[in-house]
């Protein structure tokens, strides 16, 4: 929408759009390894149900998804596939890196075939640490992402301006923009 682009939208409308976007995320689950099971428990099990947050884990393809959760070890052989599928997602898109393997290589930090962190390939918005993180930790990561989206400046994003890290204090995010880090 051209109005958003040029920053002419009034603030109530922007926050309404942001609210709508943050509570209607479609998650493309990229389940690679053990974290995929915890992600499956978070998304599919009746106990840690993620749909109550407004996040729906059922897109049929990456082209219909807003959010991708990379859970599990990223190997060098798999990396081009991740890049290609990330590029297929339409803007605005967000990435949650789940688990220590996706954050930084994890227990396989010294392996010859593991990519040391998925942020070497694609930009990441939220890092959820753990091996594997509990489903509640993943849900907290999603909640933080939603707070970030609510405070986002869409005009700045579409103009391609950079983002600042977000300070997270006691689970409450304060300012706009940025790359939040989940502090467990």
């Amino acid at each position: 929408m051209g109005l958003v682009d040029r920053g002419r939208l009034p603030k109530p409308l922007t926050s309404l759009f942001n609210l709508g976007r943050s509570y209607s995320l479609w998650v493309y689950q990229w389940g690679l390894a053990c974290c995929a099971i915890e992600m499956g428990a978070a998304f599919g099990s009746p106990r840690y149900d993620v749909m109550r947050l407004g996040v729906i884990p059922l897109p049929a393809s990456p082209r219909q998804a807003d959010l991708v959760v990379i859970s599990g070890t990223v190997t060098d052989k798999m990396a081009p596939a991740i890049k290609r599928l990330y590029e297929q997602m339409p803007e605005p898109k967000y990435v949650i890196s789940m688990g220590s393997c996706a954050n930084c290589g994890g227990p396989y930090w010294d392996s010859y075939s593991v990519t040391k962190g998925v942020d070497q390939i694609i930009p990441v918005d939220v890092y959820v640490p753990g091996c594997p993180p509990r489903p509640e930790a993943l849900l907290e990561g999603i909640v933080l992402l939603q707070q970030r989206i609510k405070n986002e400046d869409m005009g700045a994003r579409w103009r391609g301006e950079g983002t600042k890290p977000m300070n997270v204090v006691d689970g409450e995010s304060a300012e706009k923009g940025g790359v939040p880090v989940v502090v467990n």
Binding site: W30, P46, K77
Partner: protein, 390 residues
């Protein structure tokens, strides 16, 4: 229970022959279908390249390696406790079961044996991880065939088992609880009663899955007669676990091997099925979960008192030697060949994982099969990518 009716077999063959005629007329040869590596129906990042002739597979090849993390190289630069922590993540659904053969091999080299209480508790946790693993298989089986409901049952009932494992070891998966010489800690208070309750719930779950899934006419027609693997082929490829028992081989490493674990303290049965098709494999696994709940119930009654850890030095150096231990893991036979040269860490560890052999039969079994049956056969063979790729 063997119902591989001739009529059904003949109908299948006739359908294939009819297709072959159509394929020749329409010149449908030569399409290459790429399944994966990211696909909701494969248990992880497995890529199958299938060359099709119409709807039939002419040639299929799994392309593994998308989860290859280099375990065998990493074990050479880690100490034994570090390797234990790492090795949990091979079969990531039934994690405790991965530690056990490695620890048993190290104990064999050191000449220590864990105290009876530790062996008993190890067996209980081993069977709990088998239940956790296979109950997810039962749920996923439905999803891969198109029935979405069983997976919610599976995740819900699996949570109970994971809570038990977490109460005892501190981790839902990846417990990292085994130590050379015993276990890290003793069982918490209230564990035994809670486990009994959970076993009752799991038996209900098995009954529900049997009603929902196995009795369903669509499930039966999609799995009976599909992907038949004869006994001798299965042995040649090194198929193990429920896959082998579904082809009629009455062999279970828990019963037929003498390991310092407590399986021979309980009265249980080994399930086999003569057919060797996909239905047989799924059915055998269902019965094995039920049998595991019975084993756990019996073992809970008879846990011996005593220490959970033998006397081992603080810094463990395993003497020189080589040892092989394999156990009947949820996925099949998992074994470790540990070569030690007297250091704090192993010199070489060869990890023999069950799914590697189970999937090596895929090129053989997928010839001439229809495309939807590819998923059925893969679902019934049941692999975990960490186990294939290590």
């Amino acid at each position: 229970m063997t119902m591989l009716g001739d009529r059904q077999q003949l109908a299948y063959i006739a359908a294939q022959a009819a297709d072959a005629r159509v394929n020749v007329e329409l010149e449908t040869e030569g399409m290459t279908l790429n399944i994966g590596p990211q696909h909701p129906a494969t248990h992880g990042t497995l890529r199958i390249i299938a060359r099709l002739d119409g709807e039939q597979v002419v040639w299929a090849e799994p392309s593994a390696g998308y989860m290859h993390r280099g375990y065998e190289k990493l074990t050479e630069v880690r100490t034994y406790p570090q390797v234990t922590a790492l090795v949990n993540r091979i079969d990531w659904l039934g994690s405790f079961a991965n530690e056990v053969p490695f620890i048993l091999a190290a104990e064999k080299l050191m000449g220590v044996e864990a105290p009876a209480r530790a062996q008993h508790i190890r067996t209980i946790l081993f069977e709990l991880s088998r239940i956790a693993n296979v109950s997810l298989f039962l749920g996923d089986l439905g999803v891969q065939l198109g029935a979405v409901t069983p997976v919610f049952f599976a995740f819900r009932d699996r949570e109970y088992v994971l809570n038990l494992i977490e109460a005892a070891t501190g981790g839902r998966f990846h417990p990292n609880f085994d130590r050379i010489g015993g276990l890290k800690d003793d069982l918490p208070a209230g564990f035994i009663d809670e486990t009994r309750n959970v076993m009752k719930k799991l038996r209900t779950f098995c009954d529900q899955i049997e009603d929902l899934l196995f009795g369903n006419e669509i499930f039966q027609s999609r799995t009976r007669g599909i992907g038949v693997i004869p006994k001798d082929v299965a042995l040649q490829y090194g198929l193990s676990g429920a896959n082998l028992r579904a082809s009629g081989v009455d062999w279970d490493l828990r019963r037929d091997q003498d390991l310092p674990m407590a399986w021979n303290k309980a009265d249980w049965k080994v399930w086999t099925h003569p057919d060797g098709d996909s239905f047989a494999r799924c059915w055998v696994r269902l019965q094995e979960v039920r049998e595991s709940t019975k084993i756990v119930d019996q073992l809970l009654d008879t846990i011996p008192a005593g220490p959970v850890m033998a006397k081992v030095p603080k810094i463990i150096k395993v003497p020189e030697g080589e040892a092989w231990v394999s156990t009947e893991n949820p996925l099949g036979e998992m074994g470790y060949y540990v070569v030690s040269q007297g250091d704090q860490g192993p010199f070489r560890v060869k990890i023999r994982s069950a799914s590697f052999n189970n999937i090596s039969i895929v090129p053989w079994v997928l010839k001439g099969v229809y495309v939807p049956d590819i998923i059925t056969i893969l679902a019934s063979l049941y692999f975990i990518l960490g186990d294939i790729d290590r």
